[in-house]
Amino acid sequence: MKQYLGNVINALMTILIGMKVTFKHLFVPAVTIQYPTVKPELPERERNRLYVNMDDCIGCDQCARACPVDCIEIETVKSLPTEDLGKTSNGKRKALWVTKFNIDIGKCCFCQLCVFPCPTECIYMTDVYEFSEYERNNLVYNFITLTPQEVEEKKSNYAKFEEEKAAQKAAAAKKAAEEKAAAAAKKESEEKSASTKPNEETTIAKKDAAGNPQSGEKKEES
């Protein structure tokens, strides 16, 4: 019997205490804000949409390697020695043309692992969080500052440069080989005319089919 009445009184008391709490909250001002008209203040370290400042990018590929979901794609082309790409904001000299820098922000997991390895701090996270698109392809952000023609130009320039270099190298090597052959022949004739010593060793430059000199081997001339 006592427990019965105790139950009833306990129930009523706890219900009334609960009602008091809720009633007090009627007069507490709201903690919510009316979103589209009032936007929240974001802290300075906020991690939202990525941005790359291409003037500072040296094309080192560190951010693409650090990304856990592989959303950054970078392709670079070496620049010619004659071209001057300028310096980055902290004094490094740029040596690569960046021909492709795509970030698929739809894949990005906003983990910030790409921001830390960048030597020039050119990739960073802004505070833009309203970037919805209607087409999924529009979420692939393209950051390069070269036009497609320029990209082609740079690539072909580099290809040409490489060819020239290779041709030059070939010509120089041929010339050097010829000179060396001439010098060797001259030396040989000098020695022949001098005296034949049995154990003297002369190095005769070996030539392969292309006329490029190979590493000299000591050949014992009998």
Binding site: N7, I15, L26, A30
Partner: protein
């Protein structure tokens, strides 16, 4: 001078007058009240939870319910296959009719009462049981395990909780001697110390002895009527987190709107009954402005105003309880009714009977 007489003079035909008079509660009162109550619930719940509620439609969200009704009206009426079509379609109408028919006997003011039948309270209790039939129909015809469970629980709950309600009503009938709600309200004239919650009209020892038992009676009837309208803590039939939405899961569009409106109309109806029985009906607690100023036609308007205020206050308390308390499980609900409410109501009845005899 009642509204019926006024209309009779206006139209000259008794039938037309009573027809218009019976439509008045619906259009003048229930529909605007339902619109208002939906918004009130959302705003009250929001402010209790430290947030703002609807703010965009209209100034601070006043027109929100209008937007909701427009949305519900133009929604597609989806009827699942394999349902029992006649039952499916009639169920919301029955629920709404059961809630609305109660308003015929509620005294809004001394000039207006739907019908002045001498069996007011008896009629109210009888007609509000139509709701059970409607709910069972809705649950069965939905062809859905969850709805069926919800409907059966609801039927059990409503039928059980009618018993403490009736016992407390019996108490009041014993004390006052009449079932007619209009007379009951008029017996509590004067100021608030003549209300039944404080012992009733008249003075003397029996009045003061009655007070604690009247308070107990009030608590019992308020809780039982809360269970009858399926509000938390007794809202197992509509438990959102367990049965998705209970017996009205499968309804969409206007039919759902009818269930919705019926719930709010029912809420007001039971609050009105509690007010009429315990808190003086349409009487004002502090005397009438019309009396002091000498303007006699102001009095019925003031009475209407007081009645609505008191009814709204109890509706507000119902909402307050909803947002504070967790839900009771079905067997605990039954235990509360049969093991706690009915014995206490019974003992209350006996003691009050003894006191009035004295």
């Amino acid at each position: 001078m009642t509204i019926y007489n006024f209309l009779l003079k206006l139209t000259g035909s008794g039938i037309l007058a009573s027809f218009i008079q019976s439509l008045l509660p619906l259009f003048v009162f229930i529909l605007p009240f339902a619109l208002f109550a939906v918004l009130l619930e959302r705003k009250v719940s929001a402010h209790m939870q430290d947030r703002l509620g609807p703010m965009r439609v209209g100034y601070h969200g006043i027109l929100q319910t209008v937007a909701d009704i427009l949305k519900l009206i133009q929604k597609e009426d989806i009827t699942p296959t394999d349902t029992d079509k006649p039952l499916f379609n009639i169920a919301p109408i029955l629920v709404f009719a059961g809630s609305y028919a109660v308003f015929a006997a509620i005294p809004f003011s001394s000039a207006f009462i739907g019908t002045n039948i001498s069996l007011g309270l008896f009629y109210i209790v009888a007609v509000s049981s139509l709701v059970v039939a409607g709910i069972l129909m809705a649950g069965w015809a939905s062809n859905n395990k969850y709805s069926l469970l919800g409907a059966m629980r609801s039927a059990a709950q409503i039928v059980s909780y009618e018993i403490p309600t009736i016992m407390v009503i019996l108490t009041i009938v014993m004390v006052s001697g009449t079932l007619n709600l209009n007379t009951l309200s008029e017996m509590q004239t004067g100021h608030f110390w003549n209300w039944y919650i404080l012992g009733g009209p008249g003075a003397g020892l029996s009045k003061f002895l009655l007070i604690p038992f009247m308070v107990i009676g009030f608590i019992i009837i308020y809780t039982s009527t809360l269970a009858e309208v399926n509000r938390t803590p007794f809202d197992i039939p509509e438990a959102e987190s367990e049965l998705v939405a209970g017996y009205h899961t499968e309804y969409s569009g206007m039919k759902f709107a009818m269930f919705f409106l019926a719930e709010y109309a029912n809420m007001f109806a039971v609050s009105a009954i509690v007010v009429a029985i315990f808190f003086g009906g349409f009487q004002s607690p502090i005397g009438y402005l019309g009396n002091t100023l000498g303007i006699h036609w102001l009095i019925p308007i003031e009475q209407f105003f007081w009645f609505t205020m008191k009814g709204m206050f109890f509706v507000f308390v119902q909402m307050w309880l909803r947002w504070t308390l967790p839900r009771l499980r079905v067997d605990q609900l039954m235990a509360v009714c049969w093991k706690y409410m009915i014995p206490i109501a019974f003992v209350n009845l006996i003691i009050i009977g003894l006191i009035t005899y004295i």
